[in-house]
Symmetry: C3
Subunit: 651 residues, 3 copies
C-alpha cells in the first residue's frame, strides 16, 4: 500500500478537498497528519482548537483515505516552554541549554514535560481514539533525532542517580562494577554521581555505558507510557513510530519497538549517503550520489524488519532533493519508484511519501514533495502513478514473508561500547557492520538482523561483526546451533559493565572457539598491512588483534608477519582484524559455498532479493544490463533487460 | 592624494615633530589619528586629557599636514566596561560573553554603550569640531570586524523583540510571515521571541533573516547617530568610515554608507588573499601569495565606489607583511605602489597607509609600517617616494570619473540568504560573485557594483550572480532596460521574508524570462557534471537547477543529460547552475561581443582599467610583458614594456 | 636498574605476594605505588585507612623490592570536591568548569586544594617518611597533563592580579610594559585585570606571556611546597617527579625540576609518535608506526638529562599498545628492550615499566602491562628478561656520564612566545627544535639540552633553534665562548615582556653578529621557495626573515631572490628561515667538519650514542645491517650484524 504525509495546517482549507481527491487518485491509501500541530491544537494552556482538525480528517475520509494521527510531542509550543523552562535539554558537549526555535527541544528527564506530553496524548486519544477515519497512530516523531537522547541537565543527573541506585543497590557495588578505584573515582553515595561529561579528560567507560543505558531507558519509559495511553483510548488501531537510522537513536531500538504493532522507517537514501559516505573518494561517491549506495536503504529495511513485530512501513520516503544533508542531489529518474519497490521487496507493507506538497516556508522549504509549492506535480508524481499500476498486479504482497538463511547479530549496546571506547579513531561500528552486510548483499544473500535473544535455528550462517558484550544464554544457544558462526574483532571482549572479559577476549565465546586475544593494536587507516587468505593477499587495517594459537584451532588467514588473523574451530570462526571489502566478499563467498547458501553472480550495481515466490532485481547503475533469465521466466514487472535505475520482478 | 595613519600616543612626544616633517616630505597630506585613544582621552569617568592631543594636532598642522580625527568608540576603556558590564557582547555560537582585552568589545544593543559612545563623540565634536587643522572625521573603526554585528545578549533579545513589533505590527503577521506553524513555532506575543541561535537544530530561515536585518539596523542606528552628532559640531568637515570587506560587515553596506560623505576601505590584499583563497591548490595559491589575487583588491575598490557618494578613499593600505592572516607573506617589491595606483585607477581620491611606524608592542607588533620600529624606513617607503613623484604628474586625478558599461547587482541580503539557507555546503555567495567579477576583469571590462535601486540606463550588460530576493520596482526597471540581463542561480527564488517565491524561482523575474525552477540539487564540489555551451564542454557544479522548457525560451547551455542549464528570452539570460571560471570567461566574452562591449586580450596576470582619459595596466605576474601599444601612445608612467609588479599609465 | 609501577589497590590482596616474587625474579628493583590511591587512603574527611598500604609495602619489601611512594594529589576524591567545589579548574577555551570523573581535576590557584594537597602530603610523609622499605618519593603524577596548567577560574584571576602586582609594582609599569595604550587596554588598578581569554579577538601578547609565567609559577609553588614537606618527613629519600613531554607541561620545566633530586620521564614512543607526526605522509608515518620515530624518545631523554641534577629515570616505559593516542599500534618485537637500552644509553639510571599488570577496568583497560589481565605474561615480559641478563654485564652504568660536544639551547618561554604569537600557522616551535635535533642525531652527534644560564665552556657547537628572548648575561657568555654559535629565526627578536627588540631582531644578539631582521614573512607550508647553500638548492619555507647586509657579515645561504638567508660573523651564524631536513643535515655536517666534531655515517634507521666507554647502536628499521666495526671490537651486547629492532653495545 501507499500513503503520504500531509500537514493541513500549512495550507488554506480551500485546498484540502482537491488535495484529498488527488491523493486518492494517485493510489495513496494512508495520510499521516497532526505530527507537529501542537500549537494549532492547543494555543494556550488548556485552550484547544479541534474544529479545523475535525474538518481535515473528515475531508480526507470523504475521499476514501485512511488517517494516521500523530502525537505532536516533538514540538512543544513556546507557551509550554515558558511555563516549564526545565523542559529544554542541555548539550552534553558544552553544558549549554538547547533553546526553543526548532524541534525536539525537550529533555526526556523533565517530569514537567513527561506529564504534559502524556496529557496532550490523552487529550488526543480521548477525542480521536475511536474516530472511524483513523486507522492508526504514530508516536511523537523521529525520537532521538538531533542527538536528543542525552542531556546534561540537572533533571538528567538526578534521574541517573536514581537509576544507578535501582541498578546497583548500594554504592559499593557500583564502585566495584565500574572499577572506580582506578583514579580515586569512588563515590560514597549515589547523590555524588556526576554525568560522564565535561571532565578534565575521558571519563570511566563503565560510567559512560551506564549513562547510555539510563538515557535509552528514559526514551523507552516516555514512549511506552505514550503507547499505553493510546492503547487505552484507541482500541483496534495500530500504533507505530517512524524511526531514523538505528545508529542515530542512541536508544535500544529493539526495546523501543517492543510495544509497537510494527516499526516504521523514514527512508532518505540520498541524504544518508551524503553523510554516511562523506569520506569516500570522488569516483566511489559520485557513482551513487543520485541513487544512494545500493545497500544503504536495504540495510535499514532489513534492520527495521528485524525489530518489527509485523511487516514494517516506510513512513517517510524521500521524493526528491532534501535540505538537511551537506549536499542534496536530485534522485536519478526512477529512483523514487525503485526505492519504494526495494522496500516492498525487503518486507515493507506500506510506503508513505514525505510529503504531499513542498511547503514554501520555514526550515524545510527546500525539501521536495510530491507536488511543488505552486501545486504542480514534481518528478516523483509520475513515478508513483507507475508504481500504483504495478502494485495493482500484486495484491497479496504484504503477507508474504522474507526468508533469510543468513543473520547478522546486532544490538545498540555494541555501538555504544565502540563509541565510548575509541581505542582507534578509525573504528566505526556502523561502517564495520555495513561492510559485512554489503558483502553479503553483493552475493545476492538475504540477511536478517537479529538480537542475541533470537531463535537461531533458521540460519545456516550467523555473523556478529561487532558484539563486544555477549550473554551466556546467547553463547549457549550458539553452541547448540548447527549454523556456521562468524565473530568479528572485539566480539565477547567485554563484560556487561564494559570491563575486560576476565579470561581475555573473546570472553564467553571461548566456549565456542578456543582462541585468546593477547593484545589489540589500532592503526592509522592509511597504514594497512597484508592479510593472507586462500592464496590471495588482502588488507588488514585499523584494528588488529594478536590471537593465540591452539591445537584445536585452524588458521584461516594470516597477518603479514604470518601470525594468525582468522581462526576456525569446527564451524565457528573468529576474525581478529578489520579488513577490506574484497576480502569480505571472497570470504563469505567461500563460506556460502561450504555451508550450502545460494549466491548469485550479478553486475556490480545490481541487487537481487526474494520475497515469497517473487524475485526482485534492482539496477542502481547508469547502464542497462541483460539478466539471462530462462525463457520461461514469468515477469511481473519488466523483462530480461533491466534499464538504468529500473526494477524487474519475476516469479 | 596620500596619507597615513598615526598614533601619537604610542610614541614619545619628542619624536612627533620629526615624524610630521618626514610625513610631509614623503608627500603625505593626511594623517588619521585618535582612533583607539579613548583611555588616553578619558582616563576615568569624566576625567579628560586633551593637552597631548592638542599638541599632537598642532605638531602635525605645523608640518602642513591635515588631520582626520576619529571617534575612539571601537575601544571602550576598562573602567567603562566595569561601570556597565552589559556593554560586552555575547557570542551567538556559544552563548559566552566576549570579554575585555582586545577591541570592539561592545554590543550594538547596549543602551549604556550607545549613550556613552555618543557622549564621547559629542565631547570630541565640541572640542575639535571646528579645529582648523582637522579636515574630516572617521567614525569608530572597521565596524562589525571580528563578527561583532550579532550578539546573543539579553539586550539584543529585547531590542529584537521591539524591532519585530515595529516590523510586523502584530504577532499573527509575524507567525504568518515566518511560517511559524511549521514546527509549532508560533509565538503568542512579541516577548516570547528568542534569538535564532543555540536551538536543538536549525532555526527558521525567516527568523534568521529578520535577526540579520535587525542587527544591521542596530549598527546603522549607532552609526547614523554618531554622524549626526559630528555634523552638528563639525561643519564643513567630511565624515567617512573605514570599511572592511563588504562580506564581513554583516550589515547593509549601502545603508551604512548612506550618511557618509564618502566611503573608505582598508585594503590588505595579502591577508585577504590568504583567507579568501585558503582552499586553493598550491600552484594557484603560490602564484599570488605575495601579490594578492589580481582581482581581489579591485573587487573591493569597485564595491566601495558603488556605495560611496564621492570618490572613495583607501584609509589603510597594507605596507608590508601583516600579522592577522593565517600566513602573512611579504609583498613583492613594487606591490605597495601597484596597489595604490590600482586604487586610484578604480576611482580612489586618496590612499592612506597603515601605519607610519610599526609599533613594537601589543597585538599588532608584527604588522609592518612605513617605518620600522627602529625608525628606519621600511621597504614601502621608497615605493611611496616613487608614487609621490608619479602622482605629481597627475594633479586632476580625483575628479575624473570611472565609467563602466557593465554592472553587477549586489546586496548584503543576498549574502545573508545564502548563509542562512546553505542547501549545499559548497555554495559561497562571495566566491560566486567574485568568479563572475574576475571573468569580466580578465576581459578588461570595467565593472560597477550597483544595488537594486540603481539607475540602469548607463549599462549594456547587467549581471546578478546571486540575487534571491528581487523587488517589483527593480524587475520593472529591468523590463524597461535595453541592457542584456544575466541572472545567476537562486535569483528571484525568495520572498522578502525568505520563503519560496509562490510561482517558483526565479519568482518575479519570470516577468523578464518565462522560466521556472522545478527543483534544485546541490552536489559535492568534487563531483561535477558536464555543461555544454557553444560546442565546448565545461563544468556544472555544486548548485544545479532543473529548468522548465518554454516556447519563448532559447536554450543557451545544457546539462550532461541534455536538459536546459542556461536559457535566454530576448536579451535576458537565466543561468541555472554554478560552473567553472573558463565557462564564465567564454560566456561573457560571447555576450560582450554580441552586445558591443569592448574587451581586451591581455596576458593572464595583466589587468587593464580606464579612468577618464587614462589607461592603467597592472602586472601581477613575475614576468615582464610587452604591451604592443601604438608608437603614438602618450605614456604618463612606464613604457611599452611592463616589468613584473609594475604599472603602466598612458593616455 | 629496572622497576615497575604497581597498584595493589586494584588487585586482591591474595595476589600481592606472588606479584612481588615475580617482580623480583624479573630483575625489577623498584616498585612505584600509591599514585592515585587517595580515596582508598582517606575515604572521608580525616578517615584514614593505612593498613592495606602498610601490608602492600611489607609484601613488596619481603620480596626484596624497594618502594617509591607517591603523593596521590592528582586524583582528589569526590568528597573533597563536594566540600570545596572551587577546586575544579575552568576551561580557558570555553569558560566551562571541568568536572570530576577523571583525573587532574584541580586548579593550581585553589587555596582550598593547595591546603588539602599539602595536608595529605604531610599525612603520608608522617606515616611513611622514614619507612625503611621506601627509597624515594614521586610528587603527584604528570603535572600539567590534560592542559591543566591554565585555568579561567575566579581564583586564577585573583591570584594573577596579585602576581601582576608583585611583578610590576604599580599599574603604570604594567601598562607601559604591555603596551596597553595600543587599544585603550590600559588598566587603572590591578583589580581590573582580566585573564587573556574569551575576548572579542586576540588579546595582548604581553598579557598572555605574563599569564603563562604566572600559571607556571603556580605549578612550581604547589610542587615546591610539596617537596619541602616531603624533605621534612622523609630524610635521605630521593624525591622525583614523572614528567610528560616538556612541551606539554606549559610550565618552566627547569624550574619545576629544580628542587627534585632527579627528573623522571614517562616514555611512550608510539603514542607520542602518533600525535607528534599526525600530519606526516603515509610512508613516512608507517615506517615508524610501530617503533616510534628514531629520534623522538631520545629527544625526551636528552631534554630530561638537561634539567635533571642526577641521572634521570624513566618512571613509566610503554610496554605494549596504549589506549590514549588516536591510533595505538603494537610495538615491533624487541622495541620495549630497545627503548629501555636507549634510555640507559642517553643517561638514564633506571627504567620502570608502566605497569605490572593490565587492569581490566576503567579508563586504561586497553593499556598494556607486563602481564595481561589474566595474569599471563605479555610480549614485553620476555624482552625484560633478556634486558635483565644484559644489564648484569654492566654494573656501573648509572655513574658513567654522557658527554656532548654540541648543545641545543632551549626554554619553555620560547614555546610560549611562539604559541602566543602565531604569525604563521605552520610555525611549531617543538617541530622546529626537533628537526634541528634529528639532523644532529642522524650525524651520530650527542646533544645536550641546556638553558641560557648554562656553562657553555664544554661545547664546540651551540645551537638555538628558537630563542626569542635572550638575556644579556647569556649573550655575554656567548661572546666569551669559543664555540660555533647558531641561532635560528626569531632568536633575540623579543624583550622579556614580549615586545619587539628595540634595535630589531635579533636584538641583543647583534652583539655577536651584526645583522638586523628588516621584516618577517610567513607562508603556507606547501608554498616554499628555493634556498641556495654550497652549490645546492634546498627549501626555505613557512618563516622567512629579510636580513640586512653588513660589511662584517658573510652570506652563507641565499633565498631564491639572492638576498641573504643565513649569515655568518666569525664563528657565529644566524639563520633567517625555516627550511627542510636535508638542509639541516648538510649544514650541520659542514659545521661539524669545520669545527672538529666527530660525525658517523650510518644507515638511515640506525642511531649511535656513546656513554662513557660504551657505544650503543640502535636499529629502528625492519632490515638488518652490517656495522663494519673493526675485528678488535669488544661487544657487550650483539655483534657486527645488527638485526631489525635490535641493539648493539660495544667498547
Amino acid at each position: 500500500m501507499l500513503g503520504v504525509c500531509y500537514y493541513p495546517e500549512h495550507w488554506p482549507e480551500s485546498m484540502w478537498a482537491q488535495d484529498a481527491q488527488e491523493m486518492a487518485a494517485l493510489g495513496l491509501k494512508y495520510v499521516r497528519i497532526g505530527e507537529f500541530a501542537w500549537s494549532r491544537i492547543e494555543s494556550a494552556p488548556g485552550v484547544f482548537h479541534f474544529e479545523w482538525l475535525d474538518r481535515a480528517i473528515a475531508t480526507l475520509a470523504d475521499a476514501g483515505l485512511s488517517v494516521i494521527m500523530c502525537t505532536p510531542t516533538a514540538t512543544p509550543p513556546k507557551w509550554l516552554i515558558d511555563l516549564y523552562p526545565d523542559i529544554l535539554p542541555v548539550d552534553v558537549k558544552t553544558g549549554t541549554t538547547r533553546g526553543f526555535g526548532s524541534r525536539r527541544h525537550y529533555d526526556f528527564s523533565s517530569e514537567n514535560f513527561f506529564r504534559e506530553a502524556m496529557r496532550i496524548t490523552e487529550v488526543l486519544g480521548q477525542r480521536y481514539g475511536e474516530h472511524p477515519a483513523i486507522c492508526g497512530w504514530q508516536t511523537d516523531n523521529e525520537l532521538a533525532c538531533h542527538d536528543t537522547t542525552h542531556s546534561y541537565s540537572a533533571n538528567a543527573k538526578a534521574a541517573f542517580q536514581q537509576w544507578c541506585q535501582q541498578h546497583y543497590g548500594n554504592i559499593d557495588n557500583l564502585n566495584q562494577a565500574w572499577g572506580n578505584v582506578f583514579w580515586s573515582m569512588e563515590y560514597q553515595n549515589f547523590q555524588q554521581i556526576e554525568l560522564p561529561y565535561l571532565a578534565v579528560t575521558e571519563t570511566n567507560p563503565s560510567h559512560n555505558l551506564a549513562y547510555r543505558r539510563f538515557s535509552s531507558d528514559q526514551v523507552i519509559r516516555f514512549h511506552d507510557e505514550m503507547i499505553a495511553i493510546l492503547r487505552r483510548y484507541a482500541p483496534n488501531r495500530f500504533i507505530t513510530h517512524n524511526f531514523i537510522p538505528m545508529s542515530d537513536t542512541q536508544t535500544d531500538n529493539a526495546a523501543l519497538a517492543k510495544q509497537l504493532d510494527f516499526v516504521s522507517y523514514d527512508n532518505y537514501p540520498l541524504g544518508r549517503t551524503d553523510l554516511f559516505f562523506a569520506n569516500a573518494a570522488t569516483p566511489n561517491f559520485k557513482r551513487y550520489m543520485r541513487t544512494g549506495h545500493p545497500d544503504y536503504a536495504s540495510y535499514a529495511f532489513d534492520q527495521s524488519r528485524g525489530i518489527s513485530h509485523g511487516p514494517f512501513w516506510i513512513m517517510e520516503q524521500q521524493p526528491g532533493p532534501v535540505n538537511w544533508a551537506r549536499h542534496n542531489p536530485r534522485p536519478e529518474p526512477g529512483m523514487v519508484r525503485l526505492w519504494s519497490w526495494q522496500a516492498f521487496a525487503h518486507g515493507a507493507a506500506t510506503v508513505c511519501f514525505f510529503r504531499w506538497r513542498q511547503v514554501p516556508f520555514a526550515q524545510e522549504q527546500m525539501h521536495a514533495g510530491l507536488k511543488r509549492t505552486d501545486n504542480s506535480p514534481a518528478t516523483a508524481y509520475a513515478e508513483i502513478q507507475q508504481l500504483k499500476q504495478e502494485l495493482a498486479k500484486l495484491p497479496a504482497l504484504p503477507e508474504t514473508p522474507v526468508v533469510a538463511e543468513v543473520a547478522i547479530v546486532t544490538e545498540t549496546v555494541a555501538q555504544w561500547v565502540t563509541e565510548i571506547e575509541r581505542q582507534g579513531d578509525s573504528y566505526n561500528q556502523q561502517q564495520v557492520e555495513f561492510a559485512y552486510y554489503s558483502a553479503l548483499r553483493k552475493l545476492g544473500i538475504t540477511v536478517d538482523f537479529i538480537g542475541q535473544d533470537a531463535d537461531l535455528s533458521a540460519y545456516k550462517l550467523i555473523i556478529a561483526p561487532c558484539l563486544p558484550i555477549v550473554s551466556k544464554a546467547f553463547v549457549d544457544r550458539c553452541a547448540r546451533s548447527n549454523a556456521a558462526l562468524v565473530f568479528g574483532p572485539r566480539s565477547g571482549a567485554k563484560t556487561p559493565d564494559l570491563t575486560l572479559a576476565p579470561n581475555l577476549g573473546p570472553g564467553l565465546l571461548q566456549q565456542l572457539i578456543p582462541v585468546k586475544v593477547l593484545s589489540v593494536e589500532t592503526t592509522r587507516p592509511d597504514c594497512h598491512d597484508a592479510l593472507h587468505f586462500a592464496d590471495k593477499t588482502y588488507e588488514s587495517a585499523r584494528w588488529r588483534e594478536e590471537l593465540s594459537e591452539h591445537a584445536d584451532l585452524m588458521v584461516v588467514a594470516r597477518y603479514h608477519d604470518n601470525t594468525p588473523a582468522i581462526v576456525q574451530a569446527q564451524h565457528n570462526y573468529y576474525i581478529g582484524t578489520l579488513t577490506c571489502d574484497t576480502f569480505l566478499y571472497d570470504f563469505f563467498a567461500a563460506l556460502a559455498k561450504q555451508y550450502g547458501i545460494t549466491t548469485v553472480q550479478l553486475a556490480e550495481d545490481l541487487r537481487l532479493v526474494r520475497r515469497g515466490d517473487l524475485t526482485f532485481i534492482f539496477n542502481y547503475g547508469a547502464t542497462a544490463a541483460t539478466l539471462n533469465l530462462p525463457a520461461t521466466t514469468q515477469f511481473v514487472v519488466g523483462s530480461n533487460q533491466i534499464n538504468p535505475f529500473d526494477v524487474v520482478i519475476y516469479r
